[in-house]
Amino acid sequence: MSIGIIISVCAGILFGFLFFPAEIKPFIDQASGFALYFLILTVGIELGHNRSVFHRLRVLGPKVLLIPLSIILGSLTGGLLTGIMLNRPVGTSLSIASGFGWYSLSGILLTRLANAEIGAIAFLSNVFRELIAVMTIPLIAKHLNFLTSIAPAGATSMDSTLPIISEATDSETALISFINGFTLSALVPFLVPFFLNF
């Protein structure tokens, strides 16, 4: 999966730089617009199909949602402060931070809704976030507590970083990690466009 992502982005950069004339830009924009709606539809189908998550959520109680809520508030605080430091617009910064590590979708959304530069920052910053998560999860689980190890992973805690969290903690934390990733993933397509217009 991640190799496919790297190859696609690099091939795109190479083709854009070497072969694509500027005149085909409107065509690319239109084609990627349709593809984006299609992709969002498939993401929705997957979320809707995963009904067992709602059952697990009932068993654990609503308190478990405090974890994704804290990650949202933490990510937005970090994005806001970085935006102020870098002198970038508040809405753009909150939008980038709302990717919660889901680099492919946030990069694509912001390339489409803002511009190529913001899209590239969203993509790269969320790639970095996943890398930071991979490196810090075991340390946080050991030195702070199990639940906090979910924090850097953000939306990736339901798929790519779930095995690391599961390895470093226990089965209950892994379950909460999945629910956290699911909740944040469902919110990315809402929050990224929402904050962009701030």
Binding site: G4, S8, V9, C10, G12, I13, L14, F15, G16, F17, F20, A31, S32, A35, L36, Y37, F38, L39, I40, T42, G44, I45, E46, L47, G48, H49, N50, K63, L66, I67, S70, I71, L73, G74, G78, T82, M85, I96, A97, F100, G107, I108, L113, E117, G119, I121, L124, S125, N126, L131, I132, T136, L144, N145, T148, A151, G154, F190, P193, N197
Partner: protein, 90 residues
Amino acid sequence: MLNVLIFLLMGILIGSFANLGKKAVLLNSKLQFLGLMFLLFFMGSSIGMNESLLSNLKTIGIDSFAYASSAAFFSIVFVYGTTKRFFERS
């Protein structure tokens, strides 16, 4: 922006009520992968076609790292606070 939300909600409704079989779910995830690769290719090409962006790649990299590390840091601080306040067993 509105279109993104409409398509997401449509998908959630289909996924919840259509009673999809294993094959349909597998097909959905394959189509999702294809759509993703297609879009990432075009995201890359809009980066490659944008000369000012390419010449600013170093700044973009540093800014991206700043966003990533601060978002991760504050998420850790907030979640740690929450676990201490609401999850610690007495």
